[in-house]
Amino acid sequence: MRTHARRTIAGAAIVAFALIAAACGSGDDGGTIEGPTITIGSAGFSEAALVGEIYAQALEADGYQVERKLNTGTREIYAPALESGELDLIPEYTGSVLTFLGGTSTPDSDETYASLQVAWEPMGIEVLDYAPAQDKNGFVVTQATADELGLEKVSDLAAYNGTLILGGPPECPEREFCLKGLESVYGLEFAEFRPLDAGGPITVAALQGDEIQVGTMFTSSASIYANGFVLLDDDKGLQPAENLVPAVRSEIIEAYGDDFKESLNTVSAKLTTAELTSLNKFVEVDGEDPETVAAEWLKAIGVTE
C-alpha cells in the first residue's frame, strides 16, 4: 500500500503535503497510511455533516489521516473551497451540484451522475460512486389522509383536483420541481397554496393540524419518519436525481489510488434513502451525537469492527 501510494504521487506540493502528513503521522500505530491529510467539509446542515462524518470515520478506519471541517456552509462557500484545495472531500447531491455547475440534471441517477463527472473534471474534482440514498424534494401526506383518499403516488392527487391545500416553501409556486411542475407535469390543481417553510416544523404542524393536506419535505427527512407521514411516489419523475456522492480532489485520488476510492465506495453502496432517513432521525429527532450515529452505522454495515 505504501509503495503504491508513493508511486502515484505527482507534484511537489503533494510531496510536501505527504512529508508533513508522514511527519505528523510518525509514531502512530502501524495502520496509518502515509500521504496527504484529507480535509473533509460538508454543507451546513445536519444530514450533510452526518454523511461527512461517516466518510471521515470510514477513512480513519482504513488508516487515512483525516481533518474535519464539517458544516462548512453553503455550496457557494464549500464548492470553491474544494476547487482551491482548502477542502479535499465533501458529500454532495448529484442533481443540485450539477445544476450549480451549470449542467442540466434529470430524474435519471446514472445520467445525472455522468453529466456531473464531466462537469467537475476540469476543476480537478472527481466524484466517486454515488449512493442509492437520495435527498430530493418530495410530497407527503399524513397517514390518515393517505388512507382516506387512497394516496400512494403523486399522480393519485389528480383525482382530488381543486379540493386539497398544498403547503411548501414560499418559492414553491415559482419552481419547476414544486407547484409549477405539479401543475404542468402532473396536471394537478390545488384549492390553495400556503407558503410555509422548507419541510420544517411549520409544515409538520400544518399537516398535523390538517391546515394543509399535502406538504413538501425532503425525501430523507427525519420528520417523515418521526411523524409517520406518507411520502408520495414521484411516479412521473418531476424531481431530478439527488444521489449522495463523495466529491474528491483528483490530487488525493492520485496520491492514494484505488484503495482510497474503495473505502468510500463500500460505504456509499450501503447508504440507501431508508438508512439515511433513519440515521437522520437518530440525530435530528432523538438528539444523538452524529459521531456516535456514524460509528454505530459503520459497525452495523461491517466497515468497522
Binding site: G167, P169, P170, E171, E174, E192, R194, P195, L196, D197, P201, I202, A205, A206, G209, E211
Partner: protein, 236 residues
C-alpha cells in the same frame, strides 16, 4: 436605481398583485385585522390593571421593571417562540402564534406607560382633589385618568405602530399579512416585491400613527395636549 423604482411602480400598477387571496387588498385586510385585534386586546389586558395598581400606588417601579423585561426579547424570537406554544395549545400555525406574539409585544409598553402616567400625577393635585371632597372613584376618573390620558394614548399609538411593523414576522410562521410580500419575495430573490412589501408596511404604520394621533387630539383635554410628546419620549 431609477429603473428599480420603475419596476416597483409597475408592480403596484399590476392589478394581478392587488386581487385574490395573495393580493395586496386581502393582505392589507389581514394585516389591519390582526393589528386592530392585538392592539384592542392588549389595551384591555394592560391598561386597567396598570391604572388600578398605579392609583393604589401598589408595586411601583418593581412591577414596571418586571413587565419591561419582556421588552428586551427580540420580536423575531417572540414570534418563533410562540409557534411551538400555539401548536401545543392546539391553535396551530399562522394567525394564533402571530397574534399571541403581538400581544406579548404590545402589552408591556401600554402597561408601563399607563402605570407611569397615573403614578406620575402630581401628589399635591391628588391631595387637593380629596380635599375638595372627591371620592376615590372621582379622583381616578376626573383627575388621574385625564391627567394621564396623553401618556396612555401615546402608548396605545406607539404600540399599535409597533404591532403593524411586527405583524410582518407572522409570514414566517405561516400567517398572511403584508409580510408575505417580503418573505415570499425574498424566497425567490425578487427585490421588487420585497421593497413593495416594505413600502406597504411602512405606509400602513404611518397611517396608523396619523389616525391614532388624531384620536388623541380629540380625547385628550385641550390643556394637557402639549404634555403628550414630552412624556412619551421619556417613557415609551
Amino acid at each position: 436605481m431609477i429603473s428599480f423604482l420603475g419596476e416597483v411602480a409597475a408592480w403596484f400598477g399590476d392589478s394581478a398583485n392587488w386581487l385574490g387571496a395573495s393580493g395586496i387588498l386581502n393582505r392589507l385586510r389581514e394585516h389591519i385585522q390582526i393589528t386592530v385585534a392585538a392592539t384592542a386586546v392588549s389595551t384591555v389586558v394592560a391598561i386597567p390593571p396598570a391604572v388600578w395598581l398605579a392609583h393604589r400606588r401598589i408595586g411601583g417601579t418593581f412591577v414596571v421593571a418586571v413587565v419591561n423585561i419582556a421588552r428586551a426579547i427580540p420580536s423575531f424570537a417572540i414570534v418563533v417562540l410562540f409557534l411551538p406554544i400555539s401548536i401545543r395549545l392546539g391553535l396551530g400555525i399562522g394567525f394564533w402564534p402571530t397574534f399571541l406574539a403581538l400581544l406579548f409585544l404590545a402589552i408591556p409598553p401600554m402597561f408601563t406607560n399607563a402605570y407611569t402616567g397615573v403614578a406620575g400625577v402630581d401628589p399635591d393635585l391628588v391631595e387637593a382633589s380629596r380635599g375638595m371632597g372627591m371620592t376615590d372613584r372621582e379622583v381616578l376618573t376626573k383627575v388621574e385618568l385625564p391627567m394621564a390620558s396623553p401618556v396612555i394614548l401615546a402608548a396605545v399609538r406607539v404600540a399599535a405602530v409597533q404591532v403593524v411593523a411586527t405583524a410582518t414576522l407572522g409570514a414566517l410562521v405561516g400567517w398572511g399579512g403584508l409580510g408575505r410580500f417580503i418573505v415570499d419575495g425574498f424566497a425567490v430573490r425578487d427585490s421588487v416585491e420585497v421593497f413593495a412589501g416594505a413600502l406597504l408596511v411602512a405606509g400602513l404604520a404611518i397611517v396608523t400613527e396619523l389616525v391614532l394621533g388624531t384620536v388623541e387630539k380629540h380625547v385628550v383635554p385641550a390643556t394637557l395636549r402639549t404634555r403628550a410628546d414630552g412624556v412619551e419620549s421619556v417613557v415609551a
